[in-house]
Symmetry: C2
Subunit: 375 residues, 2 copies
C-alpha cells in the first residue's frame, strides 16, 4: 500500500508548490477542494468536477452522518463508490457544522451532543466517534475533531477552546490508529493570537500529524484580520507537511493565503455562487441576472475553457438563470469551479517559475479592470 | 440546400420505420422528441440529450415568445445556437399552451389574445404571427397554428373548432411560404369523431403539408379512447408523410401509437418524472423515494446504459432525491430519456425485422413482471 506523502517541488517567497501522493491519486498543491456536502458537488456530475481540474473533494461528516448515515455508506462500499468519485476525499470532523447548523448543542469535555437540523434526532460526536465516522466513510484525509469558537471572543475563551481542541486532537490521534494510505490532519486553533496559535502548533507537532490545518479563520473576522493571522500562523507549523486553510474562500483570499504558505483550501463559494448567479472571472465578479446581459452574445469569459463559456452566450446564461432552469446552476457551477481550478494551476505554474509576485500583480490588475463594457 | 424528406424503410402491420432527412441531420422514426420548453431540456446538457439517442428536440413557442422572446433569439443567431443544439428542432405553434397556461384568453377568427402567465403582459398569436415566431426561432419543423378544444365536448363544438383550425391551417401554409430545408406540418383535429377526423384530414391534404400531426389527443380522454381514435385517425392521413402524435406519452401509450402507424411523438413525462423521482424501466415504474431503496446497492435497471444505472446504486439515487440534490434530477432525467430512446430504437429494430408483434408481447410481459424484489 502506497503511503500518504507530501513533497514540496518549488517555493517562491512563502508560497509553496508541491504534490501530495495517496493510493487514490496525486493532489497538486496549492489545491482547491470543491465541497461535496451530501455526497455530491451540487449540480455537477463527478466526471465534470474532475474535468475542471479537481484532484480531491471535501465531504461533510456532519451532513453524511445524519443522511444517509456513515454506517449505510460503509455497507454500500464507502463514500467514493457511493458518489462515483474514485480520487481522494477529505472529510471534515463534523465539529464546525455542529456549531453552525445543529440545534440544542451541548459541549462537554467528552464531545458534543446535538439535535439534527433535518429531523431533530439526537446525536453525539466525540473525537473517537468522529474518527469512526470518517473511517466508515472511507475518507483519505481525516480531520481531527475540534471546537471552533466564533470570533470575536475573549482571549481566555479562545485559549480554553484551543486547549480543549488540543486534548481532542490527542484523542483523535489515538482513535485514528495506524491506517496506511490514509492521513490524519491536526487543526491549529487560537483565534488571531500569535501566542495561542504557537501553543496550539506546538501541541499538534508534539502529537504528530500527516498535515496541519489552520482552523478557526474565515468565520467573520474579515480578510485583513485573516491575512494578519496568516502572516504568522502557517510559519508555526511544520515546513514539510501540507498546510490546509479550512473554508477559504474568495479568489483574492485564496491568492493571499497561498502567498502566505497555504497548500490546500476548500469553500462552497464557487458552487453556491453558481446557483445564485454570481460568476467569478479573470475580470472580477459578474452577476448574470443583471439586465445588461440579456442581449449579450459574448461568453462570460473569453479565456475560459468551460462549457458555459465555450458553448453559450451571456444572453443564454441570463435567460436560463431568470427562468430558474437547472442548467443555469449546472453551467455556472461548472464555470466557477473551472475558474477556481485554473486559478490554482496558474499559481502552481507561477510558483514553479519563480514569478509568483508578478503573477499576483497581474491577477489584481485584471480584476481592477472590471468586466467588459456592456454591448 | 437539402430539402426536408421522409422515407419509410420498413412496415410491420400498421407500424412504420423510416427516416426523416433535414439539413440539420436525420431523424430515425419512430422518433421520440424530448421537450426543451424554455431552450433547455430541464436538468440536461444538450450533449447528454444527444447521448441518450435523441435526433430532434421540441421547443415551445408560447414559452420562448414570452421569454426571452423570438426576436431576441433571432438576434442571437436562432434557437439552435442559443441553446447549443445543432440538430433538428420542432416547435409547436403556441396554441395548445396559450389554452392551458395563459390568463384572459380571447379567441376570435383572427387568432388568440392572452396575458402572459409570467408577467401579465398582453400578447396575440395569429396563424401569421405563429409562423413568424417559429421562423425567428429557426425551427426546422414548424407546426400550424391550431385550436385544441378540451375533451369531452359537444360534437358541434368540436366541429366548429376543427373547422376554425382548418382555416388557420390554410393561413399558416400561406404565411409559411417556401422555405427549402424547413417543413410545415398540418394538425388534424376532430376529437374522437371519425367523420370530423376525416373531414380534417381531407382539408389538410388539400392544402398540402410536409407532415401531419394527430392533434387534440392526450388531453384527458384516457388511453382506451385515444387508442380508439388512433385505430382510424392516422389511416386518414397520407401514407408517405410523417405522422406526429402530439404530447404522448407514457411508454405503453407510445408503443400503442407506433403500432397504429404513428412516426413521431413528444412528451414532458420522462424529464418531468425525472425531477419527481418517478423512473421508467423495462420492468415498469420505480418510485425512487420509496424507503425500500435506501440500502439497495443495485442499479435502477441492470440493462440500462445510462450513467445513473452504470455508476450509481438505487441507494445513492434515493439519498440524493431525498436530499433534494440537483444531481437527482440530472441522473433520473438522463435515465428516463435513455429509457425512452432505447424503447424507440428497439421498436425501430423490431419493425425492420418484422417482429414487432412479438416485441410488443415481450414489452408488456416484462412490465407485468414488475420491479425486482426488495433486497
Amino acid at each position: 500500500m502506497q503511503r500518504f506523502s507530501f513533497a514540496r517541488t518549488a517555493t517562491d517567497g512563502k508560497a509553496r508548490a508541491g504534490l501530495i501522493s495517496t493510493p487514490r491519486g496525486d493532489i497538486r498543491t496549492p489545491a482547491f477542494m470543491p465541497v461535496g456536502t451530501a455526497a455530491t458537488v451540487k449540480a455537477m456530475m463527478p466526471g465534470s468536477v474532475r474535468e475542471t481540474g479537481a484532484d480531491i473533494l471535501l465531504g461533510n461528516t456532519y451532513h453524511l452522518m445524519l443522511r444517509p448515515t456513515a454506517e449505510r455508506i460503509d455497507r454500500l462500499g464507502g463514500l467514493h463508490k457511493f458518489m462515483n468519485w474514485e480520487r481522494p476525499i477529505l472529510t471534515d470532523s463534523g465539529g464546525f457544522q455542529v456549531m453552525s447548523l445543529a440545534a440544542l448543542r451541548k459541549l462537554t469535555e467528552n464531545g458534543v451532543t446535538f439535535k439534527s437540523h433535518i429531523d431533530g434526532s439526537k446525536h453525539e460526536i466525540t473525537p473517537e466517534r468522529s474518527m469512526e465516522i470518517q473511517r466508515l466513510l472511507g475518507s483519505d484525509i481525516v480531520m481531527c475533531f475540534d471546537e471552533c469558537p466564533a470570533l470575536p471572543a475573549e482571549k481566555a475563551t479562545i485559549a480554553q477552546s484551543m486547549q480543549l481542541s488540543m486534548r481532542w486532537a490527542a484523542r483523535s490521534r489515538d482513535a485514528f490508529g495506524d491506517r496506511p494510505g490514509h492521513a490524519l490532519f491536526g487543526i491549529q486553533q487560537g483565534g488571531l493570537e500569535p501566542d495561542l496559535r504557537a501553543e496550539s502548533a506546538a501541541a499538534l507537532t508534539d502529537i504528530g500529524f500527516d498535515g496541519y490545518a489552520v482552523g478557526g479563520l474565515a468565520v467573520g473576522e474579515g480578510q485583513e484580520a485573516m491575512f494578519g493571522c496568516l502572516d504568522f500562523a502557517p510559519d508555526q507549523l511544520p515546513q514539510d507537511k501540507p498546510r490546509y486553510l479550512m473554508g477559504v474562500g474568495k479568489p483574492d483570499d485564496i491568492v493571499g493565503a497561498v502567498a502566505r504558505g497555504i497548500d490546500m483550501m476548500d469553500c462552497v463559494l464557487p458552487s453556491r455562487s453558481g446557483r445564485t448567479g454570481q460568476v467569478f472571472t479573470r475580470r472580477g465578479v459578474v452577476n448574470i441576472k443583471n439586465a445588461r446581459h440579456a442581449d449579450d452574445p459574448r461568453p462570460l469569459d473569453e479565456a475560459c475553457r468551460c462549457p458555459a463559456c465555450r458553448n453559450y452566450s451571456r444572453a443564454y446564461l441570463h435567460h436560463v438563470f431568470r427562468s430558474q432552469e437547472i442548467i443555469s446552476s449546472m453551467l455556472l457551477t461548472w464555470h466557477n469551479l473551472t475558474y477556481y481550478q485554473d486559478l490554482m494551476e496558474e499559481m502552481r505554474t507561477a510558483i514553479a517559475e519563480g514569478v509568483f509576485g508578478a503573477w499576483q500583480d497581474n491577477f489584481h490588475s485584471a480584476r481592477a479592470d472590471g468586466d467588459i463594457a456592456p454591448i
